[in-house]
Symmetry: none
Subunit: 260 residues, 2 copies
DNA sequence: GGCTATTGGTATTTTATTGGTATTATTCGC
DNA sequence: GCGAATAATACCAATAAAATACCAATAGCC
């Protein structure tokens, strides 16, 4: 457990002879460690017992300090699991290069992620879908829609459309659409992604639990097989106030590149 | 199976006495091996049993680690066949000039583009600018702001800040900021760009000739010199209804064979 | 085609570690 | 002296971590 969490004890000893109650000293130490970023959202604190023995005070005293911070929303406790720094709702950023792993990205920030299925089924294709996916009106389209949730806050709506021939049973997708496609041998090799902004409509806003009219990031992605055939068509809507897309650009070649 | 997959066990033993749960250690080892390219997309992992006996831990523990990575989309499992590194979408390197080339982009859509200057001058730096550009309060900052117009429709507002030392006279910029920087030998080689959505404020909306509150794309870009120094800091606002950012993603992996 | 070794998948149990709580002693201020 | 805040002790409950034993699908060989 050591790591950077030991910083707690450094500041603790520093104020040891202040005369203030022990639990207040400890509380301040922990608070400082969080505020100074020594331990960030999602990080685990040492167990109450560990803190107690290391600081040489009773566990109940530790508990008092910790509980205060839990009440204040600074920490989160999970019975049988541990004590953690409460995640803050700040802008989350996603690098464009890792667009496929929402789950991983969020987990790295100490957020508990889950998805709620909005839709999983086979339908008659819309004109849009027929055009993009190259379907005839007699074929079916598989639609997979889910709400992405981080720390009980809905962050995004993802709606994917695929030809039913590549995803005959939309219900048995695990957590990754790409993994499911991989299993059936339909591997996209290329995708074009289009990012724009749009005001959220009523139904989307309701799903994302924000007022209607708020700005949202609208991402449209079309994935292609090696054969050039379109395999997937995804429209995602991200909450504009909680999500950043980050791209790192590199200037290639000499300065003669076309410029504005 | 041996090959490079054995690298997993090397890093595993390395962190053996970290005290962390076994399955976390293993998960990290595998994750590292993938991230460092020791095992690439499509490559097979040793079987769960092999990993278990080699690392001298239970197979269920191996399973826990592997499953986490499957959930995160890093690995793919096929019952009766094996565990494989999942394919991954990667953003194609996009040249700096290309992404910023408003003019070129619009011209491709057959639009007549022009710009209107909103501001060109030297100012005392704001705290933001001092921080990002690394300026002291006694130095000056060059601000360049312009309205981008296509077919007589305002599309975007670009506001750039630079140290006055690299752009002593903001007034003599031609049509390209980058060209001006090139002349003084200050060529950015890298930039980090952050795309988000936000509702347009009153003044920006007025400039863009849209009603306030409409969704806009907010792009923040920080450009770096080869030395690592920040040279430019641009905040742009695009009309969300009239502009798309397009990125092409490519799936990395074994091109043909090697597919399980 | 069908057998078989090998693969991942699952259910169940044990153990250690975590937070949760009730109860009691001490200290300090009024 | 009384009472509230402080601190310590001992025990309870939930969860995670790990191991065992067995099931099911796939691939490959004959």
């Amino acid at each position: 457990m050591s790591e950077a969490a030991d910083q707690i004890f450094a500041t603790l000893r520093h104020q040891a002879q202040s005369g203030a109650p022990l639990y207040l000293q400890l509380r301040k130490s922990i608070e400082d460690a969080v505020n100074r970023g020594l331990i960030g959202p999602g990080d685990a604190l040492p167990s109450e017992r560990d803190i107690a023995t290391k600081a040489d005070i009773s566990r109940v005293t530790v508990r008092k300090a910790v509980q205060d911070l839990v009440k204040g929303g600074i920490l989160v406790q999970r019975h049988g699991s541990g004590t953690f720094v409460a995640p803050r709702m700040e802008r989350v950023e996603q690098s464009l290069s890792r667009l496929t792993s929402f789950t991983e990205d969020m987990a790295r920030r100490g957020m508990v992620v889950r998805s709620a299925w909005l839709d999983r089924g086979l339908y008659a294709p819309s004109p849009d879908e027929m055009m993009v996916l190259g379907l005839s009106s007699s074929e079916l389209v598989a639609r997979v829609a889910r709400l992405r949730i981080a720390n009980d806050t809905p962050l995004a709506i993802e709606r994917a459309s695929l030809s039913a021939s590549v995803l005959p049973d939309p219900a048995d997708i695990g957590s990754s659409l790409y993994a499911a496609l991989e299993l059936t041998g339909n591997r996209p090799v290329r995708a074009v992604q289009r990012i724009s902004a749009a005001n959220l409509g009523d139904s989307d806003a309701r799903l994302l639990e924000v007022p209607p009219g708020i700005a949202g990031l609208h991402i449209e992605r079309i994935s292609y097989l090696a054969s050039g055939k379109v395999i997937e068509f995804t429209r995602s809507i991200y909450r504009g106030d909680a999500y950043d897309f980050v791209a790192e650009l590199r200037l290639t070649g000499p300065s003669e590149e076309g410029r504005p």
